[in-house]
Symmetry: C2
Subunit: 619 residues, 2 copies
């Protein structure tokens, strides 16, 4: 009923952002990316678009309608198209895209790998979830695991033979990792670094399936005697099947790891979600004794790095995962925009205001001002968020390849400040974009015959997982903005101000927006100071953080306004529909969106105590 | 997994709004309601709460998971609990609640009937949809039909033997009724007023089912030679089964109508929706020739009133239906609030800011400021919207029973202005409340084991049907605010100002809010003038209406701020958790919500042309 589907992303926009704006080609001057060129980047984009449209998009609806189910034998059944698509993805080498050549990767810049991955997320977020999680897992082990762990676990994951998960939450502890109760005890007599893990993990995406021969779980657990709270958390690799011969380097083993016995990791059940249904989401039991390897209790796990440093390692992955979640939200927002734009161009309905003659033919939906507002809003949200996602990804590349420690430190700091926004802003506003996409479709958009209702359901996950919206707000205002004596905020303000200064030089609309943006940044700085005035006293923190979600949202709008000024400058006055579109979306953002922050900053500046002083009995 | 479900509404709040605030008992001084008392009102509320909780709530999830399906024989299959619940609803006399005693009704005030109906909407919006539509249909025929039509069609509907629908949209014309193409031709040789109807109607809720022995469709169609556009639309009663002996009064017939032959109304298909799945939504063919009654072409239909006045009659019902849709959104928003509040009180997670000792036990979710913000926002949305819905319903009662034409005219005018807001504001903000309810639940809220994800999916319909959000904006700014020389806006401003004046006298917080409210109303009045400055020139209308959705949203927030000031005044300084809760929610609305209108009014005042000047090729 929908005709040929719209392309869910725009190659022209991606090319604009990557080459005309970010100058991603400049990265090829760095040693790590020296083998690359615009041609190799474009080849990856071509390949990704082709695979995504050919193998991922066609089963997006089917995997929603026929979600994975757990069979009586404890295995998971899902539609066969998922495995077919993922095998092609793996065979194309895309899981290893940004990894070192030494590990079989393409050594692509992260910014290019993210853009390529966005095609899959836009086409089918659920199927794309499996490699997405695997990349995050492999990245962490590559960064913090031993050479033997890298060879044993990372190599099969990069080849797509094994997939990976992250096991943080427990049924009683979702956001609160301090309350993790999963236990790890040293496996006496076994190889060093081997532990036995016992506990239950909840919300584990990709936690079980038959897509790959093995699944590598990264599990947070506590060893006996560890400090209370997050300082006592350690990180373990717990594979579904223990590798034959244990953990060894490729040289020791003479090749890649093969499967050994089944580990004591049991699928207890699948969660049934509103959307994102194609990605299994599981309750897993580690070491409940039903699948003993050797008669001992507990699943076999291998310590990553040192004991009690698990959360530090995990945060390394979580920052990337958070930007990745943002990309998922962006991809869905973008897909909804493209889908509703195509619909608005084809579907006719009603007449323009002032047209009194009902015998004139109806006009296309896109002729109505309110429909244009809804499309322009979607464009501003999706393209603004995509710019931020790519900008952050470029920072990851710059951080990784900086040859100056001071530059690296600044890059890390800016990335730290931007990460909660890169996660939360798309999760909020690209979800809103999906709602507008439904609205453009009218009643049709509310039916499952069209794609937009699924985008909306799929995207509703994103403000929840990898740290809820509320957690991101606490992270931004309670940690990122005040660490290093507030250096993060200063750096963010300076970086934005540099753009504003360029815009003033450029003149025209850009100069006007620069004034508004500078004023908003000044307000953000002032309000942050007001919130923390009084130092670290308990009541100060309570009042300051009471409206951290509002702070997160206001800061997010300032950052996206900055992204739109950057894009406006990057159009460089060029002619053509595409560039006019960019300029109009920038205008939309400065006229309709940035002003929303005024009342938010007012509220924050008042250090409002409404929620602090509330007695829950009043609710 | 959810334990015993929370009550989806609050009896204490309903009692506060109906008795302490609106003084609904005062209606019993009017002749129409003279038989009633607070006792009879409370008895209806008791009955409704009991039936809703006992027969509607328990199958809410089941009718979502097992949506109605069309069988090969063209009938509709659904879970049996739906019919059981509706039969009990009908037998309790609730369909006829607000109808005349002469028709077998209870002659309840509409405001009480709406409050009673809200229990069913909160418990199970899909099952409640069938009587909801039937009441609207019966109301219209009772108001505009002939005595014979009333006896033939309304009486069986009020008894619950037959249900009713509204058939406006067509596949090519959703919002644009000017483009209706369904045809009606006089049925030569048949009884007067009998026509033959041919055409296809889309999005017909309750359009087919086996719940009742007959279905009474109200169908918009055009007779040959009628004026183009909406001025040529007539209204017809098209029953699924033609009544035995045609349309006759009860006296002529000697009792209620019985079924005659099957009419030529065919179920073409069911629409499969994101939510609201239990209410069938249908594509219906009228007169496609497959079910001839008498060998002639076309379904048998009976003209209501006069030809070409169909839209006038339909608007009578549409205004009520719009307030009713608002109530549906409110009920779902309220249910989500109550559900997430209960969850937040039971579920523990994390610790307060400043608590450095991870060995202290986790606190209940409701102890976290950001969770309180999400709960307080839901309370402010749901209770604020409920106040508006009941206020509008009370206006309906006052309009119906006014003994002074001038009072009646003013009441009608105020109701006309408020109707687009009573429909759109809850549809937007109680949906947002449902999103917050999910967020309070964290990952659990995204699963189908909990109720809140269904509330969110169910509620997403409400900004679409009975006039989209955009249509409501055009109605408010393009019609309601300028008709009678702008008298509607003047009346609204005066009415709000009277509340503000009382608040100034009351002093304290109320006086402060009164200043903010008066300023917002002044801004609304000023901006409305600015938008229409330039008179009715085509470009004026285009620019004025370009941001009518923004205007609708800003006006809605002003109106709900008024409703919160009214509620605050109604607490009268009384002590107790309930009243503190009302005062805190009022504070929340004035601190967090009303200020949102500032940038919206600024945008409107600028007569922004961004969407008007946009070339669709730029998108």
């Amino acid at each position: 009923m929908t005709g040929s589907p719209a392309r869910p992303l725009s190659r022209q926009d991606l090319a604009f952002l990557l080459y005309e704006w970010l100058d991603v080609e400049s990265l090829t001057a760095r040693e790590r990316f020296a083998e690359h060129s615009r041609e190799t980047f474009d080849a990856v984009m071509d390949l990704s678009e082709d695979l995504a449209m050919r193998l991922f998009a066609p089963h997006n609806k089917a995997s929603d309608a026929h979600e994975p189910r757990m069979l009586p034998d404890g295995t998971v059944e899902m539609i066969p198209e998922v495995k077919k698509a993922l095998d092609a993805f793996s065979q194309a080498g895309l899981i290893a895209g940004s990894f070192d050549g030494e590990l079989g990767g393409m050594q692509l810049p992260v910014v290019v790998a993210r853009a390529a991955m966005a095609w899959f997320q836009a086409a089918n977020i659920s199927t794309a979830g499996y490699p997405f999680l695997t990349v995050g897992n492999a990245n962490l082990i590559a960064a913090h695991g031993s050479p033997a762990q890298v060879d044993t676990f990372v190599r099969p994951m990069l080849a797509g033979r094994w997939f990976g998960t992250m096991c943080l939450s427990e049924p009683q502890a979702g956001s609160s990792l301090a309350d993790v109760t999963t236990k790890a005890v040293k496996d006496d007599g076994a190889e060093p670094g081997r532990y036995r893990i016992t506990g239950t993990k909840m919300w584990i995406s990709g936690g079980d399936h038959e897509l790959t021969e093995n699944i590598v779980h990264l599990v947070l657990a506590k060893v006996p005697g560890a400090p209370a709270g997050v300082k006592g958390i350690s990180l373990f690799i717990v594979p579904k099947h223990v590798p034959d011969g244990g953990v060894r380097t490729a040289a020791e083993r003479g090749g890649e790891a093969a499967l050994g016995g089944r580990n004591d990791v049991t699928l207890v059940g699948l969660n049934h979600k509103m959307g994102n249904r194609g990605t299994t989401n599981t309750l897993l039991a580690f070491g409940d004794g039903t699948h003993p390897v050797d008669g001992k209790a507990g699943a076999v796990g291998y310590l990553v790095g040192e004991e009690n440093k698990g959360l530090v390692y995990m945060f390394h992955m979580m920052n990337e995962a958070r930007i990745g979640v943002g990309f998922g939200a962006i991809a869905l927002g973008y897909a909804g925009y493209q889908t509703s734009l195509e619909y608005a161009r084809i579907r006719t309905q009603g007449r323009r205001p002032g047209e009194k003659d009902p015998s004139t033919p109806p006009v296309a939906l896109v002729e109505h001002a309110d429909v244009r507002r809804m499309l322009l809003a979607q464009k501003a949200y999706a393209e603004g968020a995509l710019a931020l996602g790519l900008y952050c990804s470029m920072l990851v590349d710059q951080e990784k390849t900086a040859d100056d420690d001071a530059v690296r430190a600044r890059t890390t700091l800016l990335l730290d400040v931007l990460t909660p926004i890169a996660k939360s802003w798309p999760s909020q506003w690209c979800l809103h974009a999906n709602s507008l996409a439904i609205q453009v479709h009218g009643g049709y958009g509310y039916t499952r015959d069209y794609d937009v209702e699924q985008h909306y359901r799929d995207n509703r996950l994103n403000p929840i997982h990898e740290g809820t919206h509320g957690i991101q707000g606490l992270d931004l205002l309670g940690r990122k903005m005040i660490m290093q004596g507030g250096a993060g905020l200063v750096l963010l303000a300076q970086t934005i101000e540099a753009t504003a200064e360029r815009a003033r030089q450029a003149g025209g609309d850009a100069a006007g927006y620069a004034e508004e943006l500078s004023a908003a940044v000044a307000r953000l700085t002032e309000v942050t100071g007001t919130l923390w005035a009084g130092g670290g006293a308990e009541d100060t923190a309570q009042v300051a953080l009471a409206n951290s979600s509002v702070y997160l949202e206001a800061t997010g709008h300032v950052v996206i306004a900055w992204m739109w000024l950057e894009q406006l400058l990057a159009t460089g006055g060029k002619d053509g529909d595409f560039y006019e579109g960019k300029r109009t979306a920038a205008r939309y953002f400065y006229r309709y969106e940035l002003p929303r922050t005024g009342p938010q900053f007012d509220l924050l500046a008042s250090r409002d105590r409404t929620t602090v002083d509330l007695d829950p009995a009043w609710l």
